[in-house]
């Protein structure tokens, strides 16, 4: 067991030595893999962050129901009962026009301006908290409420959030396509690197076959090479993403302070980082395996 482990470590060392035997070439390979992976992974991370923002802002969707200015107390009571019985509505809050004006005075510092008004321009309003549901049902509810008598306007407060979410879904698909294509590119890069390696080591492979090496023995260093190169490429991608995020966060901070909000881009989670590394390692291994399967049989001793 121990002995086998020592042997595998030896093979791994040979593989790593091969990566760095041409320092610049090896580094560039890793850089290319890193860049290829950082694009979809970075995009995914950005979308993840935006997603967080959306849920934070649209936590509980509300529908604001503004009544016409000539609505009477009777109308309002009738409407209140009607709304309370509606199956899709969880809770209803009434905001009288006088209260609304008072609130506006306090919160905006426009007391002077508002004080100068002849009459209260604000309508009575209901704030409606619907039961949790899909964007479409909320939209349908809004349409239904808008048609009620004495209702001037019904506004779905989080509509923009749903639109953004739809956009994010689109972005996620783009990221997925990008990830698929660039993964293929990674496999292709490894395939080619291993092909060149096999060519330069054809004499060693031939001799090894002649003196009794199994195919597994010959294959192993190439597979280790592919996996190690993939892993190093993954680490490179992680570094690219993390450094870019640090740069962006600086700017995002300044931006969100202007909007008096607290928004920072979160770095890649531990689980996601590990997934990225394992995935790139697997792709490197796969490329090497395909290449070895394709090219090793072509080298037969004569």
């Amino acid at each position: 067991m121990m002995h086998a482990l020592v042997q595998h470590i030896g093979i791994l060392r040979t593989a790593l030595r091969r990566i760095f035997s041409s320092r610049l070439g090896g580094f560039f390979n890793i850089l290319v893999i890193g860049i290829a992976l950082s694009l979809p992974a970075g995009m995914y991370l950005l979308l993840q962050n935006l997603q967080g923002l959306v849920t934070q802002l649209s936590g509980t969707p509300q529908i604001s129901l503004f009544l016409s200015l000539d609505a009477k107390t009777d109308d309002i009571d009738k409407l209140r009962r009607q709304l309370a019985q509606h199956p899709d509505i969880a809770r209803v809050e009434f905001v009288a026009r006088a209260d609304a004006l008072e609130q506006l005075k306090q919160s905006t510092g426009l007391a002077d301006v508002i004080g100068g008004l002849q009459q209260n321009p604000l309508p009575d309003a209901f704030v409606i908290y619907p039961k949790p549901g899909e964007a479409q049902t909320l939209e349908a509810l809004r349409n239904e409420l808008a048609k009620l008598p004495r209702v001037e306007q019904a506004q779905l407060d989080s509509a923009w959030a749903y639109k953004l979410e739809a956009l994010l879904k689109f972005g996620r698909i783009v990221a997925l396509i990008l990830a698929g294509l660039l993964s293929l590119a990674l496999v292709a890069i490894t395939f080619n690197t291993i092909r060149l390696q096999i060519l330069t080591q054809s004499s060693e492979i031939e001799v090894a076959k002649l003196i009794g090496a199994t195919n597994g023995f010959i294959r192993r260093p190439f597979l280790y090479f592919g996996a190690a190169q993939g892993l190093l490429g993954g680490i490179m991608a992680w570094l690219i993403i993390t450094l870019s995020l640090l740069l962006l966060n600086h700017q995002v901070n300044a931006l969100s302070q202007l909007y008096a909000s607290q928004f920072v881009l979160h770095p890649m989670s531990f689980g996601d980082s590990i997934s990225l590394l394992l995935f790139s390692m697997y792709l490197g291994w796969l490329g090497a395996w395909l290449s070895v399967a394709r090219h090793l049989s072509q080298i037969e001793p004569r």
Binding site: A4, V6, Q7, S203, L210, I211, G212, T214, F217, R302
Partner: protein
């Protein structure tokens, strides 16, 4: 140990390298394979190591029909053989020591044991002092001896040598022959091909003589059968 029966080998393109060749080599025997260039000596050796497969007939090595051996089983056959190649097939990206180490790495020996064996093999061929050199810095004779060291480090029961003295002058050739004889004395089975019959002159050994891919019956004499007959079959290329 090695047994050919009615072996035919035809290369793609129609060239008939061996024509119904039959012979037996017993365990512990040392046999020379003679014949002019192109007589089929290399092909015969390649059939034993399953580098080539016969078109018909059977090649038995340790009672195993290597002509029909599965690809997966080949490595284990070859680990039992020590092969000394005409063109040495040394690796110039590593030193002498690591060249000899390769067969042991392939078989999975641990580090300490294999170092010991490599040094013993190098000592036997007189290259112990050159273990750090690159094989490219060795003379032709030394390269040949390095190839021998690599073939024997695994302690195979059968040694195959393809023209081991081919490009060497007489003194080197005698040296190499002496190494082979010492293996013979410790019980290894040897099959050595040569077109240069002069190295056999003072040796009483069995020879198998090939001519245009056919076995010359006259040469099928054993060690006890008299050396005069054995050595007279050379084609005079010496």
């Amino acid at each position: 140990m090695i047994s050919f029966s009615q072996v035919n080998k035809r290369y793609p393109g129609g060239y008939q390298a061996l024509k119904s060749v039959s012979f037996k080599i017993a365990e512990g025997e040392m046999v020379f394979l003679t014949g002019h260039s192109g007589a089929g000596k290399s092909t015969l050796l390649k059939l034993i190591a399953a580098i080539e497969r016969p078109n018909s007939g059977s090649v038995l090595v340790n009672n195993q029909n290597v002509g029909v051996l599965k690809e997966r089983a080949l490595p284990y056959l070859r680990r039992n053989l020590g092969i000394i190649f005409q063109d040495h097939k040394l690796l110039f990206d590593r030193n002498v020591f690591d060249n000899v180490l390769l067969p042991l790495q392939i078989c999975g020996f641990d580090h300490r044991e294999s170092s010991k064996r490599v040094r013993a093999a190098l000592d036997k061929v007189g290259l112990l002092k050159r273990e750090k050199s690159n094989p490219i810095a060795l003379s032709g004779g030394e390269q040949q001896r390095l190839c021998i060291a690599r073939a024997i480090v695994n302690r195979p029961s059968i040694l195959l040598a393809d023209e081991p003295t081919g490009n060497l002058d007489a003194a080197y050739a005698q040296e190499i022959m002496a190494i082979f004889k010492s293996f013979h004395q410790v019980g290894a089975t040897l099959l050595i091909s040569t077109h240069d019959t002069s190295v056999l002159q003072d040796t009483r050994v069995r020879t198998i003589d090939l001519k245009n891919g056919e076995l010359q019956t006259a040469s099928l004499s054993s060690t006890s059968g008299g050396s005069a007959q054995t050595t007279s079959t050379g084609s005079g290329q010496a």
